[in-house]
Symmetry: C2
């Protein structure tokens, strides 16, 4: 697929977007936009969402879960029964907190990871955990307030936060996740700047995009630093149960019910199409958080809530997670082996213990964004690293997702990508030498 075909294929191609922007700027309505509106960015992940589903292209871009192992026939019958037997409830408005049964089941899911004291009364079912991130920024952050996050971090969270004019600042990670000393240093630096730090947003297990996991030893240290500085932790844990080997690590919320607002998601352990997640909110923060959720959507869909609820009640959901773990582990190994085989020696990457993503680092001086177009021409697609950090500068990183791609396609995708990366590395070498 050529670059032009790419532009024509995506629903909102970059050129059209630019044209729309020009149209907006010259219109008398332009002055109606809020300051906030100018902070709302386009997501590189969403940009390539549409292209990713083009035939022939091998997408290593989207963080989609593998759904083919779900029992679709049975789920179809379950949905049929929900609508024919309980349609008056499933198709009507529901309560703003979400259904009690589903909130109880969310507690069971969390118990499987080590959160054993969750009360369904402290849960709000949200329209995906994306919506919980939006609401968290809304109820906690005035313009200019700081949210700390890992560098790199989830692009959707960055977009949600920046839409509220939040000053998103990063904390460095190493192979063991967030570095506590660096966190403390960043907090002191920001306090010296006179900034108000409201939240630490973290994906401690299999961070999106890096795949890095915060070690157990560091988890409490991070909570304690935040607690001492009156910073609330927003723990986003969509992948926690998808640890390839051994037991899942205990979430930070497990021992810290007061200091952590925990976000869970049904997208990765069941299916994103139901658009459901949940927030487990410290009781003293619950009321405002819940009211804000309600002000955005009135209620989560009773129909999809009942489907998830039936899935967790009647199906072997833990068995599905076990199968998924094996499948993702195999795909991750396949991708690591392919990277080892095809990429040059001065390119490095993470070795995740779970989740969906591998994070590739090219030598300094390589900008991965223009490589995206070359990759598309070569029949594959990834997400450039710049998407996952609040700054505007170029990035020498990129994210590869192995979750929704067959091992054969993973090998082929990496094979297609390798010459592009190799050429870019060589070009950077020549530039440095010159």
């Amino acid at each position: 697929m050529t670059r032009e075909e790419f532009s024509n294929a995506v629903e909102l191609p970059v050129d059209t977007m630019a044209a729309l922007e020009r149209a907006a700027e010259s219109h008398r309505h332009e002055m109606l936009f809020s300051n906030r509106a100018f902070h709302i960015k386009q997501s590189a992940v969403r940009d390539v969402f549409d292209i990713s589903i083009q035939p022939g292209l091998i997408s290593l871009a989207g963080g989609s879960p593998y759904l083919k192992s779900l029992p679709l026939e049975d789920l179809g019958r379950t949905a049929q029964r929900i609508i024919s037997d309980h349609g008056l409830e499933a198709l009507q408005y529901g309560g703003g907190q979400g259904m009690e049964e589903l909130r109880r089941q969310a507690c069971e899911v969390m118990a499987a990871e080590g959160i054993t004291d969750a009360d369904p009364a402290d849960i709000v079912i949200t329209t995906g955990s994306q919506s919980a991130q939006d609401v968290a920024a809304k109820v906690f952050c005035d313009p200019g307030d700081v949210i700390l996050c890992e560098d790199p971090t989830y692009v959707g969270a960055l977009n949600a936060f920046e839409a509220y004019e939040v000053d998103v600042r990063t904390v460095p990670m190493d192979a063991d996740g967030l570095v506590p000393e660096a966190l403390e240093q960043q907090i002191r630096a920001l306090q010296a700047e006179g900034k108000t730090i409201k939240l630490l947003y973290t994906i401690p297990s299999f961070n999106n995009p890096s795949g890095v996991t915060l070690t157990e030893a560091r988890r409490q240290a991070v909570v304690d630093i935040c607690s001492r500085n009156n910073i609330l932790i927003l723990e986003d844990n969509p992948y926690g149960l998808l640890r390839f080997d051994g037991r899942p690590l205990r979430p930070m919320r497990a021992s810290n019910p007061q200091d952590v607002l925990y976000l869970g998601s049904f997208s990765k352990i069941f299916a994103p199409g139901v658009r459901l997640g949940w927030a487990l909110v410290p009781r003293h923060l619950y009321r405002r958080f819940y009211l804000a959720c309600e002000a955005v959507v009135l209620c989560p869909s009773p129909l999809t809530q009942m489907l998830v609820s039936a899935y967790l009640r009647e199906y072997d959901w833990m068995g599905h997670i076990r199968d998924s773990r094996e499948l993702y582990a195999e795909r991750c190994s396949t991708m690591l082996a392919a990277l080892e085989e095809h990429l040059p020696g001065d390119v490095s990457w993470t070795r995740p213990e779970g989740g969906f993503f591998i994070w590739v680092t090219l030598p300094d001086g390589v900008d991965t964004y223009p490589l995206l177009y070359e990759a598309i021409d070569a029949g594959t697609v990834f997400i450039p690293g710049a998407a996952f950090t609040p700054g505007e500068g170029p990035s020498n990183k990129l994210r590869l997702a192995f979750s929704a791609v067959s091992p054969e396609d993973i090998r082929e995708g990496v094979r297609r990508l390798a010459p592009i990366l190799r050429a870019a590395v060589d070009k950077a070498k020549v530039r440095r030498a010159g």
Copy 2:
């Protein structure tokens, strides 16, 4: 049901909420809340949502559509087919604008009301039109900016707007809807105050809660006034097709594609449980609006989108609307007759030409909020008028919904309510006389 039972019955009873608020105030995290958070209010409609479904109680409160006439067996089979045949699409992430077929179908729905030039490319499918109201306030309003609205107006919109520290100001209505002269006067007064007016939020057909319709003659006058003053119109039209007699009035958007951001909903013509609506956005405003939608939810649920899409493709949806219109018309007449029969002479009410609601006005000096508790004790429930206006003062109005109640229950509900209203009217008379 007693008042105590009421408190225990609702998911988040008023007392518990107060306790939660006290817990929050004394916690060191209280200072983490944004200014915005203190503007997020509890909705009286949502307060009584849970009580409304208690057995024995006749609810004249909630604006729920009547769903029993939907072909639930068939819809169940449709959902089954969607999941078993297209589950990999229905249960996966989807595009941020919503599916193209559903956007095309939204254009067909709008064409039935007189909007014949809508382009699917200008539509965003939203998580209910509530979510579109939230996004509109987000992308257009800085704190202190004004949104004009009818007095009274939809409580959910008030909650969405006030969560962004919007200064919501009202424009008086008469039996023909918004009064253009009063609109002009309010604009001049606000301009003299130095305020920035961004939007006029209006429900021109069968306003919630009043049931009042803006006449065709006035529609263009209102648009012209707004256009002259560079105020964008946010036209919320969930009930437009539910006109009891004759053709639906043309929405304000029909002749004014540049000046009206139009909100449609599948909640009232199909089912609220799918949580889907749409926004038809002037092209020059589309990009920022769309990006803001995506930042909140990534994408609307593909599963529920495909269900609505199949419903509009394979079922006689216009026939269902015709049946619904007849049913709602009959219920409205029943309620009007019951009010005529049971209420004292100094109580008045609106005579809607469509929609779900009748608006009852008691004499000055009556506060309808405390009457809610008496009504619950008597086995019925309504929404006090104060919910539907941005001010804090008491209201002598109340909203009655006839949409989801059988004619027998409408008569019985009004019969239960009447002595409470009569006593309140008499007490106010005595007070005035004393």
